[in-house]
Symmetry: D3
Subunit: 315 residues, 6 copies
């Protein structure tokens, strides 16, 4: 199988199709216009400059356009940069489709769906189970297709479902180790905690933030949703407000976006399990790019730390 | 007219009716039980000890009970303390009623209602006006009767409406000074910003927090309410999410309980007007207790500062 | 009337006179010298590059020089940039004067002076009134002509007086709403709070900081001035130290430059009114540059927030 | 079986043997000496006052003394307090022993030892395994008997081993979920991370801090130990410094006592797993004391939060 | 010579004269009034309770009153407390004077004066020297008699001069080690940095804060003084503003009371030398009270740390 | 004697030998490769661009290579930049050696060694003296040759010894002023506090950090070393743990890298003396580059402050 852009090293030449992810326009110090384009496919992404860009270029090479491209991978400020030799918009007869160019979760959508269904099936508290089922039904395919974030972690198709399913695995084990855990509540919190992102983010391909997302954030949006849905389902009882609390507090601290810190044991656990899965995802991606004995690039979402990969790492 | 408990100085004797606000039980260093009771009426409150309290005393003297009492005002650790000489539960024939013992706003409920109605009448944006009207109708008398908080500021009957009406006055003046202000939006934000407290606080007499208030807080609760109501009224358009943003951000910073800081001009103003009115209310109350040339007690909600009352203060 | 530089959009051509505000020298990556010049007039400012700059250019095109210029407005890194076609120093016969090129307050100097005089006239406390009068006399035209700051807010000619007069309007309204306010003290604090800037900033055209401004800051400088003046006027009594306190504490917190936080009610109000007027000024300027539905650039002095302009904004 | 002191409610009378945990001396407001004694057994602890204490009492009733006692459980400032009726030092013929009065882990020492041995057996990296084995051998019974801390979490006999074994369970599950984890390194880090406490704390019964503990803290002490031991075992290679790093960084942040934050994936995981197990232990203990529908006392080590126990909690 | 109150241990009896430093009134749990009096002499201070205090007692036993007293030293909450047996106001014929009861610097006033004069004599910069001389002349005996602070460090008669002279010694040595130091500037800064306290504190015996001290603080007060004095002396030149800067910045950070941080090398040094001398003074006092092998009480002004006195400390 | 690179101003031409300190590769906006090289000698350093760099250039011009170079000093972004005219690798017959190109302490190694020996000779406590002697012997020439840091302060050959010796001078004077200081302990702490850097830094010429340095930091590494050495020397007693504490706490606060803050008087002094010497070193270097009346560049390690050099500075 052909190598994707994320598998090309400095010095390689490239020939194939790529998706335009971002474009910005600039002027050289000599006043000539150029385009800076971020190309990507399912394996990764790379930046390129398009020198002496014409008005027509500007109109042709826009986000979500697929192009056929030949070029070379050079180095610019320590990072690989694509030098474009030829570039043209893809044609219908090229037979390429948007979905081919999107990174995907390492687990298939069907498997994720199955594991999710299984967890819901295990739940015994009828109120919690009904709310969860209603949400899963309401968001349907979006829940299984969306990324978990625009960047940082699980930022690929089905990333949200992958994140949920991983967290459910940890929750299951912790429920065995600490029998006092209310597993139903923890499961419900895990499944719903990030669903507000389905409204906060605009879509799977170009994951920017909606106005509602920018002005309210996914946490209060989801708290509201749970309230509305419980009302529609005519569910009453403490489960509703406690589930809202789990979602509200899952960032752990006011300064991290949770107006109330966790005040229920399962809320505290939800916060910690979320941290573990998000951090493991970020670390694995960063460490995969380097060799044993090297440090990763600085990871902004992990306090700007640079992690070391030990030499004795098993192969 | 008879002087209330808040108008008694050290050395005075007291005879009259008082409401029990709080009770707690203790043991003397010699192992004998006693009750610490916080008595109050519309003019203020004072603590007393009930020595050698019997089981019966414990059952009789509970919060919300009105009592007939004679006593003397002593000093304990620098503060006035009531020494109880006789005490008995009020009887129906005493002709006293709970509402007589509650502190009230300095402006009558009817006047507050009138001013509120007037402000709503001035609004031109139909969406904002309809939402505001619906809330005023929904909460009705509670909106006009509740305190604005359990402590700190406007913690008296009709305190919430008093706070809203004062803020509307400031908003009106600022709208004249800065014509770019969207007055309708600012008015709507002011009227709704604290309505979540009607659900967060348990009532007018004993203002403690509900479970929902403790686990979610009044801000996310009100954001949810606005969303639900707009849906019921079938109102669409940016007004809804922007009004939710005004409520969401009115504490100004994540660490003060607003997951998003103000990102709309009127949201920033709402935050500042709220600060002015709340602080003026706290300061006036604290400064009224002291004479020119003295410092107030430390005010916890104002960074624990102690304020000075100048000697040249006008009488 | 001819359009100023602040009213030119990308793609426009420009012909007219401009004032040089700042100049810095650079080298292209090919080692050739160029000048980066910030041009401005009363309507705004725009940057330009002067390529292949000679020694003579460096000596001619310096700050406070007026030039005749033709050019085009291009885009560079997302911002408009002036492309210079011809440039020459202005001649006496061009009939242009420095004052034409300076941004001015939206209210005339005479009106500002009148409102200021009126407020002083309203004051009843003789000590406070005499101190304020003496300062207004001492700084005379400078008080009416200076900007309020080198950047951030009211950074135009008469900006300081405009800021003072706006704050006085708010203070007047608050004094009506809260009768316990000592209006004389609040007025005096408002008029004097920023006068230290007359010494801190070097002038109206090029508003940089003096050594004294850099080493002491305008707050301690003004506290000192009040002390000296009161001594000269042989004024004694608490008014002097309390007025010094109002100035000292008006930034609100030690980490914001006030060694003592507000400890007088009117000091707290002065701080809050200052915030409102400064923020409204910053926000209006930033929001005027964008269309409804857009976000402003990040505003450094407002915690780096980017504000949204609602679509339903009145026209 | 007889009920322990932790199982007595207000109003109960008590008869039996108790261990003195802490003693302090006071004066009543009338100037008479008394002793405040903290009594405990394996089920909990309770405070008592010994009025009119003689010199002899002071010398008799000291920490680690076992006494025979009859009394009643009263309430003082909202907490249960033991009222002593009779008290006498235990005699050899009473047949009571110190170890009976110490709280113990819910899992037997033998089981903990077995699970620990099993985990070490699973390790494949010879260097890591040899270091871990050497430590387990060196600390022997202390490792299996000590508490994990003087207070906060796992503060009972075998608490350290219980904490280690729980963390190993979580680590095992995470290693399955995230195959990139170096399980040997994570296991080694978990087993060694808190062993420094064996030197920091003075013993099992009275767990106070040694001078070395106070001046250096358990983290640098353990880093030193690993270095010394590796030298003795003549083990070289990155494993040593990386294991030291895991111990050094396991508190997560400089301000929490780790001079370096985690810079290895397994170090980050060690920190998070430690948090989960410590917090679950604290929460379970606090929640066990209350009924559904109540809030726990404030938990200092959990940011002073008070947690809620839902009404729908399974029984 | 007779032992002072600071040299009495628990169990000792006391007979002699003491100065009343502070008095506060309280009520016992049985409602009886008592006085809590802080007695002191040149060697230390001790608290006592005066039970069943009459109105007359209240009027007699007030701050700055000297009394003849017999009593015993008991222990209360771990601290020594004086049990009063007899107490009477001192009479003229007792021949005791206020100054006998005040703690003094370990160096004589004359010696301090001499060293100060010497340092001024060494100065070569005429402007700096004239300003310093003028201040020393202006404050005269107060400078040599006042404490450096109301509490924390050098809180005894002549404490300010003692602090200045110690700092000058360190400055002299550093000037030799680092020849680039402007010794004149550093000396001037050291002599003037805390003189504002002469206005901030009310006197030598009862060192409370003046209104000016509370509202402005000693730093802005001294900056103002330097400005006024330089004007009177008709001294111009950078020395004045730089000296003001040294005083202004000597607390090091805005949040510690310096609106500008040190921006001159000698200002940075002044800050560090001040820290060393203040901390050594605090530590010596705290360590003198304990034996080798013990920890001091918590020192609030040193981040609440408790310091250890090593066993191998030389005697 | 010929002028070094640090003594060349803009406009000068340069001819001589230079050491390559750092090299990085870049691409011009036109896609052509170039090298950015940092050249240095004992007097300073300057950056240069090597345009149109070939593969061979990349292999030749690497760190630690000495080159013969002719060029001119231009200005680039306000800083001097070397324009390379000719460049060639140095040959054996050029007779130049690495050590000639390294900045050195202003005091000779022999003198530093002598002063160090003298201080150790003064010590009276046998345990402390033996440990210190053993370390001086163990590190021998490295101690006398290494810089104190990779950047910030004393970043030149023999910088560490220079830093130690300067601190010993201050310690000596303070011991005279405050006789309670344990001079032996303070001396020992000063000599050992930064020795961990001999392991943390990789060498004298290219001072980068070792893996151990990055994962553990010099403080825990040195605590470990002291422990090991004391064991080898069979020294027991509090001196060992207290010396470890001095090293551990010398950064003063947990967030600055000291897991325990100073809890011994001499530890607090060690921290303050370290601050003085490091800051004086940084300030002198920065102030030497500017003229009176100017501000230094911003100093990152001093809270990003820019310091002023007074006009009346002595010449």
């Amino acid at each position: 199988m052909k190598k994707g852009i994320g598998q090309h090293a400095i010095g390689d030449s490239f020939e194939g199709f790529l998706l335009i992810r971002e474009v910005s326009k600039g002027l050289t110090t000599n006043g000539k216009p150029f385009l800076t384009i971020l190309f990507g496919d399912a394996t990764g992404e790379m930046e390129a400059k398009l020198w002496d860009a014409t008005k027509e270029d500007e109109e042709t090479f826009v986000p979500e356009q697929i192009v056929g491209l030949t070029g070379e991978v050079n180095q610019f400020r320590g990072k690989p940069q694509l030098k474009v030799l030829t570039i043209r918009p893809a044609q219908p007869m090229d037979g390429v489709q948007l979905t081919q160019f999107i990174k995907k979760a390492p687990v298939e959508k069907e498997v994720l769906n199955e594991k999710l269904t299984e967890a819901i099936f295990e739940m015994e508290n009828a109120n919690l189970q009904r709310i969860v089922r209603a949400f899963v039904k309401k968001y349907g395919d979006a829940l299984l297709s969306y990324p978990a974030a625009a960047k940082n972690h699980h930022e690929y198709a089905s990333g949200l479902a992958h994140h949920i399913v991983s967290m459910l695995s940890i929750a299951k084990e912790l429920s065995t180790l600490y029998p006092s855990i209310n597993k139903d509540l923890l499961y419900a919190g895990i499944i719903l905690h990030d669903l507000g992102k389905l409204k906060e983010l605009s879509g799977i391909v170009t994951t920017s933030y909606t106005l509602e997302g920018k002005l309210l954030g996914h946490i209060p949006m989801m708290v509201e949703e749970i309230g509305k849905l419980a009302e529609e389902l005519k569910i009453e009882g403490e489960e509703v407000v406690i589930l809202q609390h789990l979602v509200l507090s899952h960032h752990g601290k006011a300064e991290w976006g949770s107006p109330k810190p966790p005040l229920i044991k399962e809320a505290e656990l939800l916060h910690l399990i979320d941290l573990i899965d998000a951090k493991m995802n970020m670390l694995d991606r960063a460490l995969n790019k380097i060799k044993p004995g090297e440090f990763t690039e600085r990871l902004f979402a992990m306090d700007n730390r640079s992690f070391y990969k030990p030499l004795f790492e098993k192969n």
